[in-house]
Amino acid sequence: MSTISTTQTIPDTALDKPRTGTWDGGNEPFKASYGKLMMWFFLLSDAFTFAAFLTTYGLIRHRHDAYTGTPEAFQFSTSYWPIPEKVFDAFPGLHGVHLPLGFVALMTMILIFSSVTMVLAVEAGHRMDKKDVQKWLLWTILFGTTFLGCQAWEWTHFITGTDEGTLMNDGTVFRGANLAMNQYGPVLFADLFFFITGFHGTHVFSGVCLLVYAFIATTNGTFEKRGHYEMVEKIGLYWHFVDLVWVFVFTFFYLV
């Protein structure tokens, strides 16, 4: 059972026992396994990507004029940045009801719940409890896909627009949004919405794929034979990161 990946010729006797020397891979930096450490570094780089997106949002928002009137008198216009809670106030099945940030609140809670079920799966993995790992992974997959569904609805609504739409400069009424035009405000507002929430949604989707893999492997007993559920732990790290990013997207895109 040797997994040494080197092209050097090693005498057969050296392969009989694991290599434990400091420079032979015998010690773990930071007392974390290779896989977990690399996941942390990947997440760090991914955090830079998302930070770049959110910083870009900050720059572009401050480059535009802010709305200065009262919130009650707010109307969509391309000449100032919109108030987020005036844009995101719709809820599925409640057409025409003004529910500022209601649906985003639901999405946030779904993602926080999925994070909790993910930790529970990791915890069950530590106890080598296959049934519990399966159960909590399934819950996490359920919440993850629900979140994706919510986001699909949110996008559809954003793209389709409201009944009133916005009177554009050329006298036509424009409803909804695309990359070149939108009823809510400056062009870049919709662009940033698509890029930031889209990039986050892609991460959620990748996470769900990884979770489905972990569920199948758990069911097949792969991790049990391996003797540990570290793979679930690593996917867990990724999943919490996706939740973490949403916390920031939520604040900087919807609240501030």
């Binding site: 930071f30 007392k31 760090l44 955090a47 720059l59 106890r127 409890d129 049990e224 939740d243 609240l255």
Partner: protein, 113 residues
């Protein structure tokens, strides 16, 4: 078909009881902070103070997710700093580029005055 491992892969010992108290505690803290954010969003007029409160609460939430759920609090000091020091540089980036955005906005809006 080479592997004919026995299917009755019963664990050697008893499965220990789950220890989930800390998970739910963290969950309630994060939920409470989120609820507080919504309360502030509805009750407080938008201004710099409100935005600062939002950002501070967000950092609190981030702390609980990273420290507890991602277990970073219980890793070695070296790993904690490896993650936190590069992240702290982002604060600089954020401040620098928002200042830049204000300047850009000013110069574009005042270009024809």
């Amino acid at each position: 078909m080479a592997q004919h491992a026995p299917d009755h892969s019963a664990p050697v010992g008893e499965i220990p009881k789950p220890n989930t108290g800390w998970i739910w505690k963290t969950f309630w803290i994060i939920s409470a902070i989120t609820a507080l954010e919504f309360l502030i969003a509805y009750l407080m007029p938008a201004n710099t103070l409100r935005n600062s409160i939002f950002i501070i609460l967000t950092i609190f939430k981030a702390f609980f997710i990273v420290a507890e759920f991602m277990h970073l609090k219980h890793e070695t000091k070296g790993l904690i700093w490896t993650i936190l020091i590069p992240m702290s540089l982002l604060i600089w980036l954020l401040v620098a580029l928002i200042t830049e955005g204000n300047y850009l906005g000013d110069s574009i809006q005042n270009a024809f005055k």
